[in-house]
Amino acid sequence: GAGVSQSPSNKVTEKGKDVELRCDPISGHTALYWYRQSLGQGLEFLIYFQGNSAPDKSGLPSDRFSAERTGGSVSTLTIQRTQQEDSAVYLCASSRTSDLQFFGPGTRLTVL
């Protein structure tokens, strides 16, 4: 497809379980971003990758959160030992230029 894709669309998990969220950026986009959208905190930056540079992890809320980007393309956001406050929509975006980010449809995570 032409846009950013994310999977799964929805994920329900039990407290304490680990989850993996996937993002496929637009082909040719060198930068990839993760954001979290929750009722209490609004839209927050989590992490971004740009080419071969070290990722900017400054937005990750705790060490339970990690992300990797393999081969400069697909990215996986992993949340270990999920808590109820992790319930949110996780949005991925990619960009080819420095100023225009294109977003995917998001993954809604519900932690019971």
């Binding site: 930068a31 971003y33 954001y35 609004g42 839209l43 930056f45 971004y48 740009q50 900017d56 937005g59 929509v89 949005l91 975006a93 960009s95 420095s98 100023d99 225009l100 980010q101 294109f102 977003f103 995917g104 449809p105 998001g106 809604r108």
Partner: protein
């Protein structure tokens, strides 16, 4: 750190009328970008319009235009001839003008267009 404030949690407008959404921001940067994104119920964030801080001319995209007041750190969005499809959450966002970087978002404004 940058902050973005949208003071209108909800707005409504009649179809075909004009509505203005407010946004203010705080930054010590001189080089930056400002954006308005639209998020309909589908959750897909869609870029509406973009403004480069060094450009004095206000950006326009068809029915969407901005009023960028750099000194006042204000960046409002005007939607003309509102359509039912404009119903969505609108986010104002800031990005430092370095090469690649995070977006800082406002709290969002829910806009409802009534027939």
């Amino acid at each position: 750190a940058q902050t973005v404030t949208q003071s209108q949690p909800e707005m409504s407008v009649q179809e075909a009328e004009t509505v203005t959404l407010s946004c203010t921001y705080d930054t010590s940067e001189n080089n930056y970008y400002l954006f308005w994104y639209k998020q309909p119920p589908s959750r897909q964030m869609i870029l509406v319009i973009r403004q480069e801080a060094y450009k004095q001319q206000n950006a326009t995209e068809n029915r969407f235009s901005v009023n960028f007041q750099k000194a006042a750190k204000s960046f409002s969005l005007k939607i003309s001839d509102s359509q039912l499809g404009d119903t969505a959450m609108y986010f104002c966002a800031f990005m430092k003008g370095t090469s690649y970087g995070k977006l800082t978002f406002g709290q969002g404004t829910i806009l409802t267009v009534h027939p």
